[in-house]
């Protein structure tokens, strides 16, 4: 079922609501109930080297402020606040049910498809609130996502890549071809498929499909690319290729990577955020997190005492 918090491309009215109150209005009516639930404030945000979270980001691409998420009565995120900087790779690690995916999906408003989704707080892209000043379609055009399992559409390779731009209105054959080539190159897939763009995408191998999905996301020319455990179904060689692609993409895009694999986070990220049970526990440069974590819980997770 395809559901939205608000129909089509309109901005969502303030839909945040306390978990004890009635649900957000179904079709976009604006109610301004925004009650902050009484939670413990998030701890351990950022190290001295980070921009303070109170200033909506010097150099911050995405500013997240006291972001809480509920699905029905279950709270997935508790008042999370931090910044994501332009053209960095931010790795998000943590055990399952820590809220990593909920956070990621909040960034491009994919949680809107869940009718039980409630939120409070704010997320700003270049200073503009994603939920109050943008329509959901606009958000998704600027912030793309690559899912955990490769999910090609049952179309040809070319049609997969240009799916998004075509729907947006780009019709010129030449421009579409050029775009497809650019994105497939950026995803390190061009050489393998350049002769068979009309073949069904389903016939590619898992690793190739995932790179195709990356190309597909890049075709929308987003500013931020989200990766939700992108290598979970892939063999080591494909994983390496995807990681290499991510590092190359960093030159042009801001990247947020959610991963279960701490080693991968260590390999690829500039900064790492550790989430546990819906809270942001610690956020720091990669080397700092892995060599001298400040929070006991971070250290336990990284050293494998739980996970």
């Amino acid at each position: 079922m395809v559901t939205e918090g608000a129909p089509g491309n309109e901005t969502a009215g303030p839909g945040g609501v306390s978990p004890l109150g009635a649900g957000a209005p179904p079709f976009g009516g604006a109610t301004s109930r925004r009650q902050m639930p009484a939670d413990a404030p998030a701890s351990g945000i950022g190290s001295p080297g980070d921009a303070s979270p109170d200033r909506a980001g010097a150099g911050a691409k995405l500013g997240i402020r006291e972001w809480s998420v509920w699905f029905g009565l279950i709270q997935a995120l508790r008042s999370v606040s931090f910044d994501i900087r332009e053209r960095e790779i931010l790795g998000i690690i943590g055990p399952s049910s820590s809220g990593k995916t909920s956070l990621l999906r909040s960034l491009n408003r994919m949680n809107d498809t869940n009718p039980a989704f409630r939120w409070t707080g704010s997320i700003a892209l270049d200073g503009r609130d994603l939920y109050r000043q943008f329509g959901s379609q606009d958000v998704r055009r600027r912030i793309g996502i690559v899912f955990a399992l490769p999910m090609p559409l049952p179309k040809s390779i070319r049609e997969n890549v240009v799916y998004g731009p075509k729907l947006r209105g780009l019709r010129d054959r030449g421009a579409l071809e050029a775009l497809a080539e650019r994105c497939l190159r950026a995803a390190s897939l061009w050489d393998e498929v350049k002769d068979r763009l009309d073949l069904p995408a389903m016939k590619l191998s898992g690793g190739q499909q995932q790179r195709l999905c990356i190309a597909r996301t890049l075709a929308m020319e987003p500013e931020v690319v989200l990766f939700d455990e992108p290598c979970s179904g892939l063999d080591p060689i494909s994983t390496a290729k995807v990681e290499e692609t991510m590092l190359q993409l960093k030159e042009r895009y801001t990247i947020v990577l959610v991963t279960n694999n701490t080693k991968q986070a260590a390999r690829v990220s500039d900064r790492v955020a550790f989430f546990l049970m819906g809270e942001l526990v610690e956020l720091d440069r990669t080397d700092a997190i892995f060599t001298a974590p400040r929070d006991r819980r971070t250290e336990d997770y990284i050293t494998g005492r739980f996970g």
Binding site: P7, G8, N9, G169
Partner: protein
Amino acid sequence: MPWQRWRERGIETFIWCCGVVSILFVILIFLFLLKEGLALFKTVSLGEFLGGRFWYPISEPPRFGILPLLLGSLWVTVGAIVMSVPIGVGSALFISEVATGWTKEILKTGIELLAAIPSVVLGFVGMMVLAPAIKSSFELPSGLTALTGSITLALMAMPTIVSITEDALTAVPQRYREAAFGLGATKWQMMHRVLLPAARSGILAAVMLGIGRVIGETMAVMMVTGNAAVIPGTLLEPVRTMTATIAAEMGETVRGSAHYFALFAIGIVLFVISFVINVLADLFLHRERA
């Protein structure tokens, strides 16, 4: 691109309209039946209509009692259900629990085949083949009787009963069967002690929908029951059902006459009966799923 947004809004409104249009149709059907049917009750009382024992629409003065028609429908329906439920449930049990592979496919196709036969064709064959057979077996003046109707209608209800019962049986979790086997039951014991009770609501729903199918049937019934609008004494006499009455007499009535209104009034009765049956069946189906 604002115009695109407008177009999208328009399409979504159209979708919403299509979604709720079925409610509109149900209401519309009821309203139109009421519009013409209620006019009858200016000249005839409700009690006389529902309880009157004589349906003489073209006599002078006309009598519009539908009791013989109600009973006709009732007799034929009861007969059909008595025949089709045991056989239908039995078939469903066999198909779902015993048959395998090719046998199962053939049986299911057979049921689909039966379901696909148009009612007028079944009525035709009933008239040409079944009626003479009954006539000679029971030595009657005519083979067009309630019994003939019941048998023919049982055939029409069969696919409904079989397929819904089959759904109900398949919906029973596998662990019920396994538990029964674990306690040493034979397949048959499992079926009648565990499975059937577990699928009870679904089977009831199947029976209700079968009843609805039978009560609503027109053509087959018209062709094989003899169309005598009298209260039947036994199953071996001709009867007239409500549906057949409407179909047979509408062509001869004058628009706006009492007879015309009376036929619509019968339509109201049929609609209400089928509405109640459907709501009940829906309740049973939902209770089972819950």
